[in-house]
């Protein structure tokens, strides 16, 4: 769980997180690794409508379509 902090009156409550394409891919791969999944496996779970966990479904809602289909496949392709 992340910490909370107060929002000032002049603050719109938004943090913009700028990333390069490489940084984005690395962040996505770390998130996938945290679930023990490759992107291809997560994409298959989405197509089948059977996610391995709520965490996996949550992650898919964010990163779907943002990585190549074969990204992170276990055979290294």
């Amino acid at each position: 769980m992340a910490s909370r902090r107060q929002v000032s009156a002049a603050d719109d409550g938004v943090d913009v997180v700028e990333m390069t394409a490489d940084e984005y891919q690395a962040a996505a791969q770390r998130s996938l690794a945290g679930l023990g999944l490759t992107y291809a496996e997560l994409a298959w779970q989405a197509r089948a409508g059977q996610f391995a966990s709520a965490d996996a479904a949550d992650l898919w809602a964010l990163i779907r379509g943002t990585l190549p289909d074969g990204a992170g496949s276990r055979d290294g392709r």
């Binding site: 990333m19 197509r47 709520a54 949550d58 809602a61 990163i63």
Partner: protein, 235 residues
Amino acid sequence: MAGDLARLAREFAAQIAGLLNATVCDGIRISAVPVSPDLVLAGYGLSKQQLQHAPFAVTVGRRTPRCWLRVGYQLCLDGEGEYLTVASSVFGVYAGAQARQPLCRFDYERGKAGYAEAHLQVYGVSEVLRAWPPGLSGDHDIDCGEHCPFVHDGTPTRELERLHFPAGDRRYRPILEDVIEFLIIEQLADRRDGWKAAVAQGRETFRRHQLRAAIRDDPETAHQALSQLGHDRPA
């Protein structure tokens, strides 16, 4: 971020943060992550380190939370590049130690194949499903293509969370305001004074946007409806 998508996505994220902090939370911030010129992610707890949006405590002040929420969006512009569009969203309700036990999730995936774009999944045990007779529904096979990933062996799932209860489509679907109202009404979360007005305002904005989009989708029906109300077709 550059361009209209960046500005609109930030405004949207600010509305989400404002809504949460006006209803059931304190000091929640929403991250906006530009992935490309065509896509922005928005959610709680997104960072350069990870994109798994974190659950945040649904509580006001120092009260002990009874539930946690996960909120995330994929945002893009519509086909004309003019209006902000939610490509997907997820609102997950969690409880228990470390917020690890899901209660339900409200998912929306624009263009989803196989089941409703907006759907509800509930986590738990269903005695009805456990007792459901097998071998009665295999003929769904004939509706599917060669590469359909769904299993059609005539036996429904025994797991409640595998069911995707339809909850609408891109125009008429649950939004965060509905989930907040659900949490408050079902006494799963404390609420701030004035929460009803915040929910009503957000819902009204959403419905007006969707009505405009529905009219753009089908202007002839819109003209007919206006004519029935006595409004002349514009010259």
